[in-house]
Amino acid sequence: MFYIHCPYCQEYREEEEFHPRGQGHLMRPADPDNATDEEWGDYLFFRDNPRGIHHELWVHSVGCRKFFNITRNTVTYEILETYPMGEQPTITAESEKLRKEQGVQTADGGWQTIGAQPDSRALNEEISS
């Protein structure tokens, strides 16, 4: 279940309020009247479909009804950022690769590589009575 930050409402809301609309930043052929079949086909049907960092278009369909972008990892499903239409992502596959090599500092001061699950050992420990 996703908990998504809408960049317009400035609030975290449940996944059910949103709708995914596929790959983000798709550009219509600049000169539609003279676009070749190749260009139209590529625009309409061909997608990146990456295993990893993906920039995608979502709509806050039962909220503000505005479209916005999400950068998300398609394997871990981790949402890395949300940003309004017209803006470019600050996190990309390249920058993420760098971050993964370096690791990041977590809020509690621990050190964690990206994609690793949060430390949940405490949750799994059996409670001795």
Binding site: H19, G41, D42, F46, N49, P50, H54, T74, V75
Partner: protein, 416 residues
């Protein structure tokens, strides 16, 4: 290969079942093969089997990154039918259905193919018009399909709620009697055993990390167990097809989505057939073990995680309870997700690529299981001859540029 028979079962029972042969070898990769199949699921194994059996190409390797039949072959809901709208699709799925009928005998492996029929329900006037159109098209293509009334539906599947009290009352259905279900794992294992006996090397735990391509021709694959040469490579990797295509510098019109399914606790026999509904969006059948096998729509976002979201499960079960109110208190036992490679026109891609010798068989999306034998058969013919088989030819990747799409969204219906 040790043949299976009733007599053999008795013989091995007397020997405390200690002398069964292994079903297939676990060979070391050779340096060179005539054909490499990337992906050891049902479609890949079927391709290898038919290559060796019918087309005389025995120097074949199936390269699988995990274990055989561990992806969508193990995760689907086993429905087999062929009531598709367009001629091209009907030919492909009907070819498959014909092979299903003799598959257990052919493989000497019980795939438990049970032709118990499929109902596709209609809940609105437009649903019924679409169903009538599809049924007419089916009959012209030699697919046994008919329109049935709510009363006839009640005779086929007594527990369906056909009353007018339902939120979406059932107005009729299409009924394909020759459709049914099969044991998914047995299909993969049967093909694997058959292919292995004919000399195919099944290379498990062997992940393709890249392609060897020179002058626009494929020369082999790089794997985590070394390079393997072959001048013909067929990729049959379902949800991960896009990842493979990327390695070869090809873009595909695919999006990989999680598709979830559930099974319930085992119940006494309650369902006779497979019931699907596009409109309330869910489908259910009962396995021979007694558990209800349930599925519905894909998760809308791109995902490779083999799991999905809870809202999708909730919607799925809402649909099932709408059709079968008596299931409202059945407990679910297990839930899982598979990664399906959905195509914009809900039809597969069986195609050559701009790299000579590199073929793709992908895009089966949410309903590939039913096509396993047919897909393997026509893809094997194409790989062996270097020309796409006439049944496979319309499913070329070129159709996304020429516009000759085969729009099966109606017949593909609810993801299954």
């Amino acid at each position: 290969m040790q043949r299976y028979s009733g007599f053999g079962l008795v013989k091995h029972a007397l020997g405390h079942h200690e002398n069964w042969e292994r079903q297939w070898r676990n060979p070391e990769p050779k340096k060179r093969y005539d054909v490499i199949i990337v992906g050891g699921g049902g479609h890949g194994l079927a391709t290898a089997y038919y290559l060796a059996k019918e087309f005389g190409v025995k120097n074949v390797a199936v390269v699988e990154k995990g274990w055989l039949g561990g992806g969508n072959t193990a995760r689907n809901t086993t429905i087999v039918r062929s009531n598709y709208l367009w001629d091209e699709a009907a030919r492909l799925y009907n070819h498959s259905l014909d092979l299903w009928k003799g598959l257990s005998q052919d493989l000497n492996y019980n795939v438990m193919f049970s032709q118990r029929g499929v109902l596709n329900l209609g809940h609105t006037l437009q649903d019924m018009r679409d169903i009538q159109r599809r049924v007419h098209a089916n009959r012209l293509n030699g697919v046994d399909s008919e329109v049935v009334t709510p009363q006839q539906i009640k005779e086929i599947e007594p527990e369906l709620d056909i009353s007018s009290r339902a939120r979406y009352p059932i107005m009729g259905a299409s009924w394909q009697k020759s459709a049914g279900v099969a044991r998914h794992d047995a299909v993969a294992w049967g093909y694997a055993r058959g292919a292995d006996a004919l000399g195919v090397d099944l290379l498990q735990n062997t992940e393709v990390t890249g392609f060897k391509i020179r002058d626009g021709k494929v020369l082999g694959v790089h794997t985590n167990r070394g390079d393997i040469e072959a001048h013909t490579v067929g990729c049959v990797a379902a949800g991960n097809s896009g990842v493979l295509a990327n390695m070869a510098g090809i873009k595909l019109p695919l999006e990989s989505h999680p598709l979830q399914a559930l099974v319930s606790e085992p119940l006494k026999p309650v369902l006779n057939t497979v019931t699907m509904s596009n409109h309330v969006h869910g489908y259910v059948s009962q396995s021979d073990k007694g558990d209800l096998v349930i599925g519905a729509g894909i998760d809308g976002y791109v995902g490779y995680g083999q799991r999905g979201s809870y809202p999708t499960i909730e919607h799925t079960l809402q649909a099932i309870v709408e059709m079968f109110p008596m299931f409202s208190r059945v407990r679910m036992n297990r839930q899982w997700g598979g990664i399906v490679d959905t195509c914009p026109d809900a039809c597969p891609i069986l195609s050559k690529t701009k790299v000579k010798g590199l073929y793709f068989n992908c895009g089966w999306g949410t309903g590939g299981f039913k096509a396993t034998p047919g897909s393997g058969h026509v893809f094997a013919a194409s790989l062996a001859k270097g020309e796409m088989h006439p049944i496979a030819a319309p499913f070329s990747i070129d159709r996304f540029h020429t516009g000759a799409l085969i729009d099966e969204h109606g017949a593909a219906g609810v993801a299954h």
